[in-house]
Amino acid sequence: MGKKIHVSTTINGEAVEFLCEARQSLLEIIRDTLTLTGAKEGCNNGNCGACTVLMNGVPVDSCLVLAVEAEGAELETVESIANEEHLHPLQECFLEGAALQCGICTPGFLVSAKALLDGHPEPTEEEIRFELSGNLCRCTGYDKIVRAVQAASERMKEVK
């Protein structure tokens, strides 16, 4: 017990290796070991979505993934959404549309919303609300978040 396990994985395009205990969550390792603290712990129970990351392109609650399961996986966190010079249209629209207040849920929303738009570039309001219902926000009442995702979808159309 307590024996550390060696894990090789890819995070935000970079190959990384880490040691972990079997009981440690992916969220714990991403935040404390890899010091990518963008993903947040809101409930550690899969109910708030603040810890959402992409695992092989699919959104998951990283609090409900064992770090050892990341062996050989492709992980993406909020830190990977912007490129060197520019914010992603979703990030721009979240800022211009004031879609965050305290900001603690924002990384999770951005990761989920990016996955949504990548797979479904023109979602309806209802689809946006449904696909984001695994992410809780207590500040905004969701209005400005939904509008920001709609605005980003338009903006991404224009650049294409």
């Binding site: 909020v78 004031a98 603690i104 905004t140 605005a151």
Partner: protein, 766 residues
Amino acid sequence: MSENFNHAQIIKDPGDNYKILGTRPVRHDGVDKVTGRAIYGNDVQLQGLVEGAILRSPEAHARILSIDTSEAEAHPGVLAVTTSADFPDLGDKIANLGEGPVNLAHLAANCLAKDKVLYKGHAVAAVAAQNVHIAREALDLIKVEYEPLPIVTDVLEAMKDGAPLLHEGLLTNLVPGGEKAEAPSNISDHHHFKRGDTEAAFEAAHIVVEREFTTQTVHQGYIEPHVATAHWNQDGQLTVWASTQGSFSAREQTSEVLQIPISKVKVIPCEIGGGFGGKIPIYLEPVAAVLSRKCGRPVKIQMTRDGVFEGTGPTPASFMRIKLGVDEAGKMTVGEAWLAYDTGAFPGGVIGPGVMCVFSCYDIEHAHIDGYDVCVNKPWTKAYRAPGSTHVAYAVESVVDELAEKLEMDPIDLRLLNAAREGTKRVDGPVYPRIGLIETLEAAKNHDHYKSPLEGPNRGRGVAAGFWFNIGLKSAATAHVNADGTVTLLEGSTDIGGTRTSISMQLAETLGIAAEDINPKVADTDSVGYTDITGGSRVTFATGLAAVEVGKDIISQMKERAAKLWECEAADVEFSDGIFSQGDNSISFKELCAKLSRTGGLITARASVDPQGFTNGFGVHICDLEVDVETGKVQILRYTALQDAGKAIHPSYVEGQLQGGSVQGIGWALNEEYLFDEKGHMLNPTMLDYRMPTALDVPMIDTVIIEVPNPSHPFGVRGVGETPIVPPPGAIANAVKSAIGIRMTELPMSPPRVHSAITEDGNGAS
């Protein structure tokens, strides 16, 4: 592209010709918060940092006979264990901690229980270990011997003679701070206001409606759990990294609980993941501090989510009886209110604002109000957005709606007829300065939402009004003018919703420069003057005022520099729209900044303000909904929030406050509640079963900002943060009534409650 963001309707004040105020710049801390770089409380990483965990009571009421921590201390990887035995004895000392009086013994005993546990989840001991897993393993090794005591969780039960007493010596304050009752009880405070002759007025009234209402315990529900990191240095200097609504308040509370000088405590405010009033009190700071002193390492404690629900301060459950009388014309002549709020485990709840808010929207000649704060075996209740006001607004607005029905009057017309206005005397005494309730009601009446028909079966529309104060309190700010024409602004108000920017915009407006040229920093308690909490809808108002004063200081200092350049008297230098001028000379703010170092050095300015008195904010909400009569489930179809917001500095964040508060109110109205079993254990301490609204549960929230200027602020700013949570339960209850003809007198209006009401009513589908 801002048209995509579909902004609110803004009804401006005629005198409004601002350049910066009313625009929508991107918040200064925005990029850090969308890239994941912003440092929140749990993101703090320090050399040698270790993690802590809290042991919580499995009993809702018990005497602690003994605590044996020896096994936990011996557990490999454990660095320190603490209990209340490590806290100094505080006697019965009351301290005024910025946001009102606090009994320090209670504050400390809530951080770590002393001789008794008063609620399930009450913190009993804490462990620091190499990692949180080891710390939690060690919690299981702490042996606590409890002697269980009878419990009481219902506010009315707790008021009865013979109810189990939480505090054997508690004597009711009959006058706050004054005369006390002879016999001990669970009632900590009794507030009482009387005006005129209510008995006679009810006799004379044309219609009288009296109803009883109950509401359940609800939580602020911020997504970030409480977290604190403390490092107690060998030299006795304590540094705390906190997620708090007030770094100075956290410093005072921590130093008082630990009985160390304020000068020995430095609080560094981290970004804060929501508060809504719940992050004013401290829970973890002194515990992490003591653990750090014991193990010589920085200690971080983050609460678990069930720890947040069971161990921090939600807002009270309540029982309310409201009686209102009107004359033939619908004029409210008389009102009576009997209010009982549970304060949870310790005295000092929110009944005070409850009694002040209950009739605050209306001009009522004869009134009689009784309010009680009552201790029960539940977490110590704390402020939650307009604390105490949402309860009474739900009750009063329901009764007002019923009066409108009986009078066959439009509900907004009835409210207009009776609305408080400048000069109206509140039942508790104060007379209103200029307020905007009338304007807000009129805007609601003229709104497309209210005018458009609502069709379909089981659909209904409801309206309700709501009130909250804006407090003033103390704020300070310091500014450094840079040679490139920008200004660095240090302020002490932790930024929960974009206040860095709303404060910077007020300085920018004063200096006639762009908001982007201000570089705001939320400073720690060693680096900026005393600033009270972020709360009470005060920051944009009071800290904004400090920023304006700083701006004036900068301008007068720069006038002297301009005078030097032009060899004239500073008094002859004019300043407007960012240009200094005298005769034919003129120079822009930026140009003059470039010359500062050669005219006596760069400029620093500071201001410390303590604006006296609060102003008021009024909101009116319109709600359309449909009831699924087969299941009792309520679906919100359309929602509009209108508010007298004063000058909206950054309209997007004002809209955001209206929308966020509305949705919290919708959650409170429909599904949120603490469920307890007979042992006083909370059954639903998760975000799965404590049902806060998801994105799929609510529609877009339409907003209207009515800019009735606040006479006590140079830009007419009013606080807007709290009022929006007040009207929703009343508006929704009134809409349910109009949809299915049933008046719901209990919150939340959850599907089983609504369905059983339908069944009892006989219109049910079953």
